[in-house]
Symmetry: C2
Subunit: 636 residues, 2 copies
Amino acid sequence: MSILRFFTPQDINEARLTGGPLARRQKSALDMTIPATMAKTIETGRLDAFRLDWKPGQPKMPHVYWDSDTAKVLEGMAAALSLRPDPALEAEYDRWVDLIVSAQQSDGYLNTHFTAVEPEKRFTNLFRDHELYCCGHLIEAAVAGYTLLGKRKLLECLCRYADYLCGYFGPGRHRGWPGHEEIELALMKLYRVTEKKEYLELAQYFVNDRGTEPHFFIEVEKTQGDGGGQRTSNQTHAPVRAQTTAEGHAVRAMYLFAGAADVAEATEDVELLRACEAVFENVRNRRMYITGGIGSSFAGERFTTDYDLANGSLMYAESCAAIALVYFCQRMLNLTGEEKYADVLERALFNGVLAGIGLSGDKFFYTNYLEVDDSLYCYNFGSPVRREWFDCSCCPTNFARFLPQMQQYLFSVSDQELWLHLPVDAEIRHRFANGSVARLVVTGGYPYNGNLAIEVQEDGDYTLAVRLPGWCNRAEVKLNGEVVYDGAGGKYLPLARQWRTGDRVALALAMPVEFVRCNPKVTANAGRVAVMRGPVVYCVESRDLPGEVRNFRVDTSHAPEVTAMPPDLPPDARAVKLFGVLEESPSDEPLYFTGEELPCVPCEALAIPYALWNNRGPTNMAVWLRTAKAVSRTEQ
Amino acid sequence: MSILRFFTPQDINEARLTGGPLARRQKSALDMTIPATMAKTIETGRLDAFRLDWKPGQPKMPHVYWDSDTAKVLEGMAAALSLRPDPALEAEYDRWVDLIVSAQQSDGYLNTHFTAVEPEKRFTNLFRDHELYCCGHLIEAAVAGYTLLGKRKLLECLCRYADYLCGYFGPGRHRGWPGHEEIELALMKLYRVTEKKEYLELAQYFVNDRGTEPHFFIEVEKTQGDGGGQRTSNQTHAPVRAQTTAEGHAVRAMYLFAGAADVAEATEDVELLRACEAVFENVRNRRMYITGGIGSSFAGERFTTDYDLANGSLMYAESCAAIALVYFCQRMLNLTGEEKYADVLERALFNGVLAGIGLSGDKFFYTNYLEVDDSLYCYNFGSPVRREWFDCSCCPTNFARFLPQMQQYLFSVSDQELWLHLPVDAEIRHRFANGSVARLVVTGGYPYNGNLAIEVQEDGDYTLAVRLPGWCNRAEVKLNGEVVYDGAGGKYLPLARQWRTGDRVALALAMPVEFVRCNPKVTANAGRVAVMRGPVVYCVESRDLPGEVRNFRVDTSHAPEVTAMPPDLPPDARAVKLFGVLEESPSDEPLYFTGEELPCVPCEALAIPYALWNNRGPTNMAVWLRTAKAVSRTEQ
């Protein structure tokens, strides 16, 4: 495995989403998600916290993680402005920046809780108090404001803070590990735009010192008695470069390894890259839901053990964790050029991530169940309905910044190559070092359609590498009508030529409905199948069959039919009609009874993309379906 | 429904267990459970708490529920002495009684926590503090000491306490509802031996006032801010006689309705009896595991919603709750003479109750899972291994008193009738009012064998009513070789005659292995079957098949074979050999894959009685098994 070092374009707006689910969600983000999360950030006091005027006994005490929410919404505001100018929004953006910058201390420190509430505790409990996590998100917001809008004020402010951190932490200075990673990848972003190597060195320090002995959290515990000592829960069970499995809090783990991948790239640290690779393989092959959701336990919001992937109320799969997996995959893809990373990236993006936000753009899931049965008492703890906000509101604010920047996942470039990862409807324009400009228009309605067209709109000399997805068993590629590839997916097809305006690449990605089975080591899915079409995972809501999905058994020997979506859901998507049987209850409703299998009646069920579930009101739902062969054969 | 008013014999030792699982567990109770729980009661300070010399800052502060544990062990000691004289044990028993009596206050009050720790809080938080619950268990211990051993000292002590309660609670005096019911059934026991109607009236008050408006717990909450207000969690959502479903904490609910049934019997209160009946039907038809376990949620140890019967780590089915269900069933059986109560009683007794204690007699389950898969992270919270004791040790102490008194469930009597409920190996001797003596010897090895003999050993004039169980589709009864009944079960067969020494009743209860299915409204058991033989529920431990039980699929079209038990388990029990298939993992172990069903290999699995699981070390286990028809047909 070598370090290939693609880059995503500095200006993420070299790609513009023009259709399909990503464009739809991005529009709803600009129309709804950004305004809604801005309003909540103000209403809850998170923004005014930067006035530093909170006094004991007053309401709205700045919480240790508040700054991160404000920063993520601010990052989203910058991305929104870069997509759609809006003077009123820009004025509000500038106001937020002024307020945040005004809270910076003379030494560069910037944190509302540890300035206004507990100034004496600065950097005293890195494990619990999200201090460096908040700093990291402020840095990401600052970098976005600079790269997307050219605004320097917040960037300079965060550089001062980062300079302060560089003087405080590191070899020969204070030791410290963040309990919730994020600072590592943020410092790497800051390093990329400033090229100031101290930021790289501090990120490198946080990555390399973590998990080494003496164990920093356990040392802290000895003196402060706090619970930072558990090793696997916070990715400190081994030095990061020695880790081989995804452990502990899923968001923290993915943020850490995203930052570690950045460090590996910048320092050509192949050993560190190997650790990132091993962790990714553990996630992909042992610890990831079919939707790309990760962190299967509600207890600790964490990775657990191999094959522990319960679908129901014990599970978690936090929206932020799916987003964090996308961050990690993007970096690994750019580092290695291996197609498998794009497979997992789009699995998470089109399914686990988009399911976390409602079509209205202002309601969010924290937990993303793969099976819901509201007859079960456990759901009384929190019936699965998307909510506008949470006390700990990381998920809504993550969507606020993620959705306006999704175009960055469409392609990557190197000196002479443009690697197209996601052939969704989009317009792409990239100028290479040699002056050539790749101007491409992608159409066809991916991921709901596999027949796609890439139209070249400007002459240029470069290589267009087209991804043939790993899920695709037969991909045909035509260049100006001539077949240049016909075979399996799971690779990139490089097309090097002098491109001429009007050149046309046609992709035909065979996209049959597939019944997907799960490794039998996963107890929850024993004897069940999931339905996929291309990269899209489907689910069945009880409203779309004449009974409860728990009693539906799909007949895998009866070919499903691709059909139109039900009313009130996006018509460009595709539904799948499934054929099977519905178990009927015995008339006298005994709880237990002997004798033959339950009577079944033939039954059709409509499956819809998992990312669109729960947009027609609360409903019971299942991704993994029981099969009907037993019954259909018996009845013959 | 009329009030029939059987009685269980005053002297429970009119029946003596001579063989089978009940006799075995009773022996282990005398040999191990009683000594082990006595030692823990002393070691943890529960007994010495009655010295009332605890001081702030000292360890072993008497907890609000400690007295109940001591009382339950003391009740068990009395029962053990009545079965097997033991001078050393009797001396210890007398020492415990002296110590307990010495803690009684001049006004009759007796509670270690509210005398030594928080005297000022007496009766201030009935919802939370188990005060009347402890009193109830002390009363039960006192009644057992008197009825089984003829010892009066503790009984007189508790009568003084009960007199104090009668002067404190009730109409025109203080209002009060116990948060954890128990006092009701205890007062009824005390009433039966003393015939003092004030005790009946106080029990009647606690039952009749509960759930009426103004809501006592909510009134308390207004002044004390404590959480007693939730209505369903503590059976106060409606007046007891208006309740129709089993709600809230399962042990509390069953103790309440056991006491309510006692009050209904003593006061010929048919309306109250109807409420008991409705609650029982809700438990039996909607909220009871196939094992007789109840209280399906670990959160609140409680009844939840109809058909919410998860088998795995979300479940609870506390051992005490199965025991409490036996108490409730016994009372309803004696009140109505309806066979269905005996069906549920033996279902809970032979399965849910006995599974809660290990064969060694000194290890206990609090939670009784129906499915265990230790690959799931959730079990890391507490891997299912029986433990010697718990901080809240209600289960071990309940076994200490329950096991030595199981013979009381074998039969009931009225003036001229002996109703044989459980035809386990036993010797029975009862003298009727008319002077006739029923002396019977039951043999045959029930519940593992259906061919049973009842031998009459003394002449007498009475009716012997033999239970033909509800699970039995064909029961043949012979009297001295002559068939007197041949038909379905679900009733009692009364045999009235001048019995002669040597008369012999032969029961042939057809006991095939049955595949039991579950109402499809129960999500957890969709597409699964359980294995039963007679009243015995079976399970499969992974150690008894060449793989993991999660990958085993039983072929219900292949007749199971009754066979010998595996080594290290009681040989008088019966195992069942099941035939099916074992799913194999794809060689490269993908997490998700498309294509045909998993390859399966033919596989045999040995099922053992659920009550005996986890006696050969920790293991994965399942009661509800997937079926194999799909595969076996496909492979043809």
